[in-house]
């Protein structure tokens, strides 16, 4: 913490820009650092380099037409954002979703969560200097992408959920491929743990680094693995249940100390829990239609509505203000990375510059989601 450092002589401090173009900040994040030698006194994240105006675009598009935009906000959890948006509008309008569609949504959403965590795992170790786990994680992630490609048609920016269900049905090939993938990923845990988790260099670079304790996390409104790493077992899937999650059994992994290693372990355990969810959902997949009745142009009633789902990075909220027409009056997206990023102003002060990369990577931000 900053209070433990002696007061710096003013001439010794200098300003450094970990600029928008940097190999290790995931996206165009600018960190404006005030340094005293090697120690950071103040860290100021400056966002906005990737602002594309999604929320403004929502005001001039119909509800259906906005669906591709949701995928592109956080491109790593495209299906999760799709699901959140579609569920928000469905709840507002009162559209019923058949159970088969709900289960398909849950399976594809959990697959997307696993692929996002695998990518985070790869890029985190790559930032720390180990170049190979990145490719091992991508090798596994390719299989998820192929599975999702077969049903949705896209690999990264899906527009799969529709109002009332999903766009396309799944077949037996999907079920078989997913089951095979679950087995394959479970057999990889040994490799990952031997190569990374037990590695003494990795442990030294992440244990005790970037401690975000319970009070800080709650104060800044962090959600997701940042909050769960700090010891608070808060998960939207359990706290405000939606879809078919109440019927599925899974645990919420938490960490004790809130350092980078705990967040890393929480994410790996989340992958395991997602695999459990997928297994249960595959067994219970009912037959039936995949789309409920929904009007061609959805017109939610007048009013405001907020709906949150749990994405790979935290709680994603969609706040829709509708004025009765087919166009939303205002659509605001609560992005988890923005709240998680703000913790950095407090966490980074007092640490070494060399630890910045480790802390930044462990918080797992996706800057396009912050900037929208």
């Amino acid at each position: 913490m900053a209070s433990q450092l002696p007061e710096p002589i003013v001439e010794q401090t200098y300003y450094l820009n970990m600029g928008p173009q940097h190999p290790s900040t995931h996206g165009v994040l600018r960190l404006f650092l005030k340094l005293d030698g090697e120690y950071i006194i103040e860290a100021d994240p400056i966002v906005g380099y990737g602002h594309r105006g999604h929320e403004k675009m929502a005001e001039s598009h119909l509800y259906e037409q906005f669906l591709p935009n949701t995928s592109r906000m956080d491109y790593l959890s495209g299906l999760l954002f799709n699901h959140g948006y579609v569920a928000a509008v469905e709840k507002m309008t009162g559209i019923e979703v058949p159970p088969r569609a709900e289960y398909i949504r849950v399976i594809s959403v959990e697959l997307n969560r696993i692929s996002s965590h695998l990518l985070w795992f790869g890029t985190y170790i790559m930032d720390l200097g180990g170049f190979t786990p990145f490719l091992y994680a991508f090798d596994d992630r390719e299989i998820i992408l192929d599975i999702l490609d077969r049903i949705t048609g896209s690999r990264l920016t899906y527009s799969y959920c529709r109002f009332g269900g999903v766009a396309k049905d799944v077949d037996d090939e999907f079920v078989r491929a997913t089951r095979e993938f679950i087995g394959r990923l479970r057999s990889r845990w040994d490799d990952y743990h031997n190569l990374v988790t037990k590695n003494v260099i990795f442990i030294h670079r992440t244990k005790g680094v970037g401690v975000i304790n319970r009070e800080t996390a709650l104060r800044f409104g962090c959600t997701g693995p940042v909050l769960r790493g700090a010891g608070v077992a808060y998960d939207i899937r359990r706290a405000e249940p939606y879809s078919v999650y109440p019927e599925l059994e899974f645990e919420i992994p938490t960490g004790a100390a809130g350092d980078a290693f705990d967040r890393y372990m929480v994410r790996l355990q989340e992958i395991e829990q997602s695999l459990r969810i997928i297994e249960q959902a595959l067994e219970r997949l009912p037959a039936g239609p995949i789309r409920g009745r929904a009007p061609r142009k959805v017109r939610p009633p007048k009013g405001e509505f907020y709906f949150a789902v749990e994405s790979a990075r935290g709680a994603v909220g969609f706040y829709i203000v509708s004025d009765g027409t087919g166009y939303p009056y205002r659509l605001k997206v609560r992005s988890p990375s923005l709240s998680n990023l703000q913790v950095l102003t407090e966490t980074l002060s007092g640490t070494l510059v060399a630890d910045t990369i480790s802390i930044l990577g462990s918080v797992d931000i996706v800057v396009p989601e912050i900037d929208r």
């Binding site: 450094l16 970990m18 190999p23 290790s24 170790i125 720390l128 200097g129 180990g130 170049f131 190979t132 990145f134 490719l135 091992y136 090798d139 190569l195 590695n199 260099i201 990795f202 030294h204 670079r205 070494l352 510059v353 060399a354 630890d355 910045t356 990369i357």
Partner: protein, 332 residues
């Protein structure tokens, strides 16, 4: 041809000249081969193929890369210290040629068998540090300087355990002459009965060449590139090639000191394989190990790197020296 050279220069000098020419050829071919080997090994560890386009399985890739680097403009920024800037890539190559003079490639293939061979090698390898410091200082850029200073601190810290461990070998062989050290391993290689020494030597060697988990000066030193950020074109190529040549020297020295030099396995000496082949086989096996380590582990943070050297490596090397001095005294 050889006779005319001998009559012209005298036998010693002729041997030196021919040897140096051969060494230059060796260093170039080695650099070509090593860059290709590293990219291929890195590719296969990462489940991909590495260079495949140029030449069969990408063998000619390094030559093409060299041509590309040759054709780049040598940018000299305005505010650099011009003399040091130009001199640094040249100085980094000096130890390479000097150290090769004393390495025994086989029983008779040694350019000059000085009786302080080991001392020469370690004296010249500190030029590496000087060249890096020159490069970082000349670039007139606070990040280059920071990278260079870190590299110097790292090199100095890891040289101490290196030398302490080599002392064991010298005690056993009772001389600093490289061929005598190889002779002293005729029954059992040093690595088998001093395994800790071999391990310490290999770790310090990778730190000396700025590779693997210790590559803070070389890879992105968190903020910008290291001490060679301001160098472009052939100057950068010289730094790059010097790194691979240093790897070869360090591996060759490790082979000579710990792994028996050009001697075959003690129970395999009936095979008609010449000593040179054994020597290069062992050297390249060690280099393969260094490459393997690089692509497996993440990087150490700088203060952890220094802690590791001062608090673990040096006490270990000292204790090892004392213990083995006692053991050698008992044996003799």
């Amino acid at each position: 041809m050889w006779q005319s050279l001998v009559t012209l220069l005298g036998p010693d000098l002729a041997r030196l000249v021919v040897g140096l020419v051969a060494i230059m050829a060796l260093v170039q071919v080695n650099a070509l081969f090593l860059v290709w080997l590293e990219r291929k090994v890195a590719g296969h560890i990462q489940l991909r193929l590495g260079p495949m386009e140029v030449g069969p399985h990408g063998i000619l890739q390094t030559i093409v890369d060299g041509i590309k680097l040759l054709s780049k403009e040598l940018i000299t920024p305005r505010h650099v210290d011009w003399k040091l800037f130009v001199l640094a890539p040249i100085v980094v190559f000096i130890p390479v040629f000097s150290c090769f003079v004393v390495i025994p490639f086989s029983e008779s293939l040694q350019i000059r068998d000085l009786n302080v061979g080991v001392l020469l090698i370690f004296a010249f390898s500190t030029f590496n540090v000087l060249a890096i410091l020159m490069g970082g200082w000349a670039a007139n850029n606070k990040y280059s300087l920071l990278g260079a200073i870190r590299s110097v601190a790292q090199s100095v810290a890891y040289e101490i355990p290196l030398l302490l461990v080599v002392l064991n070998v010298i005690l056993w062989a009772n001389s600093m002459q490289m061929s005598a050290i190889v002779e002293a391993q005729s029954r059992v290689w040093n690595a088998f009965w001093m395994p800790v020494a071999a391990v310490i030597y290999l770790i310090c060697a990778t730190a000396e060449t700025n590779r693997a988990p210790f590559d803070i000066p070389e890879a992105e030193s968190e903020l910008v590139a290291g001490f060679h950020t301001e160098y472009s074109g052939m100057r950068f190529a010289l730094f790059f090639l010097a790194e691979y040549s240093n790897m070869l020297i360090v591996a060759a020295v490790a082979t000579t000191l710990f792994f028996g030099g050009w001697k075959p396995f003690p129970f395999l000496d009936f095979l008609p394989i010449p000593g040179v082949v054994w020597f290069f086989g062992k050297t390249y096996a060690l280099i393969f190990g260094v490459i393997w380590v690089r692509w497996t582990f993440p990087r150490l943070r700088f203060d952890q790197l220094m802690n590791f050297s001062w608090k673990i490596m040096i006490p270990a090397a000292l204790i090892h020296l004392v213990v083995y001095a006692g053991i050698i005294k008992l044996i003799r």
